[in-house]
Symmetry: C2
Subunit: 249 residues, 2 copies
């Protein structure tokens, strides 16, 4: 024991066969992804879905419970079941891990933003499944709290998925809501890689620190409901007054 081993990730949905409630769940995901019920919109009640799909209410319930546990829907007693949307709460708690050292959690404001279109490099093409020669939008943002630039953020989006992306002016603070409302694309899951790196000269100017100072670099890949990659994001963050909060449970 205690000998190092390599192991592969284990988050398998388990069974070798296919229970009814999972089929129901998949069909519901398809219909949500197809836009049958838009973000924030209400699904039919458990009773109605059960009748429509020809299964018992308990089976629909189990499917909906799983969707709720994956944050794809929100259930509200007495009101109904709704497709999750990127409101402030969700964006702040699910997708923004930077926290003030005092423990206060705030949504930063955008104090600078530019957008440009350019050819994707090979790394981006691979991550976004793009053909050679495809274009991407590149967004550069400064996000600030209490008048101080906290994060320099570079976002990369496939141009073909986001036509006329520069039409939206100004860029809203909550871009995930823009993806959702403007393009029907919901980021439901993200994976982040964190590294401590030396600050680059241009970022240092933005952050008000010196070149070479240690900064936290966060590389995020955002995935949609179908598992498709929607967004690449690199955040450079000065962690002298804030930190990245990670809950292991």
């Amino acid at each position: 024991m205690d000998t190092p081993i390599d192991t592969l990730s284990t988050s398998a949905p388990k069974p070798g066969y296919d229970p009814l409630y999972r089929q129901v769940k998949r069909r519901l995901i398809e219909r949500i992804a197809a836009g049958e019920w838009p973000p924030g919109g209400g699904l039919p009640s458990e009773t109605h879905l059960a009748a429509e799909l020809g299964v018992s209410q308990g089976t629909v319930r189990k499917a909906l419970d799983e969707l709720a546990s994956e944050n794809l829907v929100v259930r509200r007693q007495g009101r109904g079941t709704f497709v999750s949307e990127h409101d402030q709460q969700r964006t702040l708690f699910q997708f923004f891990k930077i926290t003030s050292d005092s423990g206060k959690r705030q949504f930063p404001e955008t104090t600078f933003a530019t957008r440009a279109i350019r050819k994707a490099n090979s790394k981006e093409r691979k991550a976004l499944s793009l053909e050679k020669g495809a274009s991407v939008w590149q967004v550069l943002r400064h996000r600030s709290l209490e008048g101080r630039v906290l994060v320099v953020e570079r976002i990369v989006l496939a141009a073909e998925m986001f036509p006329d992306f520069d039409r939206h002016e100004p860029l809203p603070n909550n871009v995930y809501r823009l993806y959702e409302r403007g393009y029907g694309l919901t980021v439901t899951r993200a994976v982040e890689e964190l590294r401590a790196v030396a600050c680059r000269k241009d970022d240092a100017a933005a952050l008000g620190c010196r070149e070479g100072d240690p900064v936290l670099r966060v590389d995020r890949i955002g995935y949609g409901i179908t598992g498709k990659t929607i967004e690449l994001r690199e955040s450079i963050c000065l962690t002298d007054k804030v930190h990245y909060l990670s809950d292991l449970h």
Copy 2:
């Protein structure tokens, strides 16, 4: 909309009253915490628990399902329900977020370790709920992969919770299993704060880098099943070949 707001954490177990299955769940947690079923040990079957507690099997099931979703128990079809233990899998995937840039996930080996007892400082006393003058164990470890020191780790434990902690020699690689087997203390949840900082001189020597180089500092607080703080841990990690992986879902 889109105006910054402060908000407090929202992970409340919800209802204003107290459903039966939550009472069952709490009683089961108490019994697990009391050691009635040791880590790795099997709980009675759903049927038996239902009879013993005077509730239906479905209610016991719901309680056990919640415990399983919180990783307090593991359910195995055809075998039974077991109290979670810190086997390699769990320690690696739930509590070790450092990943090789190639994506491979390995358990590092301990290449250096010291233990000492000393007075707790005020910060430690506060975090561990200790009286003035209380003692703590301080563990210093180097953890390596492929012959290279990856992490310098400083662990702080309340001496009163870990009597004769220096008795265990050598210090096992998986210390959470030691807490569990030797002291009946299971770390079930941890919260980590991440910052990019300049490497200190002594850590630089251990990591084979230069003083001032950017390193990732991870401050962890480990909690037991009852919510009590068990461990404080500071990890200093050079992230040129590895990164910290965070899954947002």
